[in-house]
Amino acid sequence: MEFKLSEKEEAFKSEVEAFLKKELPPKWPEMSTHWPGGYGSLESTNEEAVKAAFTFRRRLAEKGWLTISWPKEFGGEEHSYMEQAIFDERVSYYRAPGMGIATGIAGPTILRFGSDENKQDWVQTIAKGEIEMWLGYSEPNSGSDLAGIQTTAVDDGDDFIINGQKIWGTIAHLADYAWLIAVTDSEAPRHRNASLFIVDNKTPGVTIRPIINILGIHSFNEVFFDNVRVPKRNMIGEKNMGFYYMMTALDFERLMVGIGGFKRLFEQFIEYVKQSEQDGSPLGKNHTVRKKLAEIAVKIEMVYIFFWRTASMLDKGLVPSVESSVLKLTATELSRALADVTMEILGPYGQLMGGSKDAQFRGMAPRGYLDCISATIGAGTSEIQRNIIAMRGLGLTKK
């Protein structure tokens, strides 16, 4: 047992850190209003930030770090999971734009399961960071119960014809392609009836309608598919294997909890508290403030340990399905705890959004208060994570 990074890992960490400091715009920390764990306040929602993010991603691609996990034969870096974890940690710590759906999910899935055509068509463009994708999984009647999807893809000559509706589609309006799951065999049992597709947003019949989230930001979308023709070669891997691929892809996202963001935000808040007074005495001397912040510090430590545990299991070739649910659950609940604590400590000032001149802590707390709601819902609700832990982890049964 060892709770420290190896020398090689430390060196890699320093390299990542140096890169981030060099390549991120100096104003980036102020530009980013992302709340750790939340979905509602992505950096790509403000034009200047979108541009900066784009440039940064190109630099990442040049460095080869956009495909940090990919095999060398496809131009990847083939870093260990631990190194990917270190990378994710630092990237999220600096709130830098990291991997998206294309590089984080689509690329690795294609490399593993895709046909030769799939690889030819997509691998290089994804690796270079030239395209971005959105995740077409959820539907109005298929949220936690993903196997209940109703969007269909019907075989028609050289194409599939897609009909249906997807929802949430985070940043679909800024992406180029959908990474979409649709039913290809309505007779087959759940989980063995759907396939994955890449669908160009510009295909006729695709309508993207914005959903404004509770922060007032356009991050979500409803996307309608009305007789959308998709060439057969855009189906990923084999037909009806969609859910299997999707589940396997979970391995690639297990570490993507934005871990560093928690630490960074907490450090910044501690600084804020140290410099602030309340009713004439230092805020940091207030008993409740001290206790609450210490509790958060312990929770962050815990989530970090769960994070490293998941990475080291992956490197050992183990499947940390339960452990990553523990990570996801604790990280997202930390998102909420962090919001609650910052809001409670700020008291009435917690109401002031960033634009107000009296706003404290850049107005981050009220944003977090709103944004954290999405954390324990998106990518599998806390309830679903607990079910996974109980059933897969402990062998408790459904009936």
Partner: protein, 377 residues
């Protein structure tokens, strides 16, 4: 980073578990609660044979020269069965104090005996009116020629009634601050003037009130420097807190395992109660508490073993594990229902033990305050 035990650690853990499962089933704790001494001597001798008592003692003093991680593994295994006896007070409190601060002569005299199972030690720290820490030390030790005369009352002294030596923290000097002027004495447990009263405690352990009435101790029996015990005690309490965490990890692991097994087995409404989401979510919450307690404890133990600064990690471990233990053992009761409210069921042994470990060397709130200090607040 490697969150798995090494091969040696795995062997130690599984052999410790196997040994205790066989030698120390829960019936032992039940028997020992009525026993005057509070531990089976045969079991103690076997622990000595296994090298457990000398786990931290260097080979030069007849020990096996292990590190704190090994100690934590043994403590965890003992926690799994609520193993009664003076292991903690002897090996952790007494042993580590001597190892850290004792003179060469003291080490030569005491450590081999300790490793061989011929010595029972304890630490007398808390006093009436003190909850945690060393902020209240009123027991006085006054120099008288080449002796010191100790007067005062200590509380919550584990196993003082059977201890060969009591390590007593006493004030030898008023000192400029409460931190100064504290000295650690090695007091023969059979000294004239010592009165031990075993307290009736929640976890059926043997914590004592110890009254020192003109107890004379040779000046040679000072451990460490005269008047400078504060930092020795701080250091010791940090390790002891992590040691208690390791016990708790074992304790809640068993409580948790029992509970999940019961949830699978017990049927109501024609199905196992573990198939109800309400129970499943309780169990999932327990997983987080148990896993979290385990790793945050191991992290602190590893840091101690590596000789790295551990104050932050130790306090984090004690804060989390103390609260997690309470939650886990309580949920254990809840899921078991009425059956676990019976004396003959084992769950309450763990519920009791968790509380005793929680209040030893600082509860969650106490350690959260220490975390806050180290955050720079």
């Amino acid at each position: 980073m490697d969150l798995e035990f090494t091969k040696e650690q795995k062997i130690l853990k599984s052999s410790a578990r196997d040994f205790l499962k066989k030698e120390c089933p829960s019936s032992v704790m039940r028997e020992m609660k009525e026993d005057e001494k509070g531990y089976p001597e045969a079991l103690w001798a076997k622990m000595a044979d296994l090298g457990w008592l000398g786990v931290m003692v260097p080979e030069a003093y007849d020990g096996i020269g292990g590190n704190f991680m090994d100690l934590a593994i043994i403590l965890e295994a003992m926690g799994e069965v609520c193993c009664p006896g003076p292991f903690f007070s002897t090996v952790v409190l007494g042993g580590l104090a001597i190892l850290d601060a004792g003179s060469e002569e003291q080490k030569k005299l005491l450590l081999p005996k300790l490793a061989n199972g011929d010595l029972i030690l304890t630490l007398a720290l808390s006093e009436p009116g003190a909850w945690y820490g060393t902020s209240v030390i009123n027991v006085q030790a006054v120099a008288d020629k080449d002796e010191y005369v100790i007067n005062g009352t200590k509380l919550f002294v584990e196993n003082a009634h059977i201890a060969d030596y009591i390590l007593c923290a006493a004030r030898t000097d008023k000192g400029g601050s409460p931190d100064e002027g504290i000295t650690l004495f090695l007091v023969d447990g059979k000294s004239k003037g010592i009165t031990c009263t075993v307290l009736d405690t929640l976890a059926y352990d043997k914590q004592c009130e110890v009254v020192f009435d003109n107890v004379r101790v040779p000046a040679d029996n000072i451990i460490g420097e005269n008047g400078k015990a504060f930092s020795v005690l701080e250091n010791l309490q940090e390790k002891a807190a992590v040691g208690k965490c390791a016990e708790m990890v074992g304790c809640i692991q068993t409580a948790f395992d029992m509970t999940v097994a019961y949830a699978k087995d017990r049927k109501q409404f024609g199905r196992p109660i573990g198939s109800f989401q309400a129970i499943q979510h309780h169990c999932a919450n327990m997983v987080i508490d148990v896993d979290g307690a385990r790793f945050i404890t191991y992290q602190a133990a590893w840091k101690i073993a590596e000789g790295l600064p551990t104050s932050m990690e130790a306090s984090m471990a004690k804060a989390w594990t103390s609260d997690a233990s309470r939650r886990v053992t309580f949920l254990g009761h809840q899921i078991h229902g009425a059956i676990s409210f019976c004396e003959e069921h084992d769950m309450h042994l763990y519920y009791r033990k968790a509380k005793a470990a929680e209040v030893a060397f600082g509860d969650g709130d106490y350690h959260l305050e220490k975390v806050a200090q180290q955050l720079g607040l």
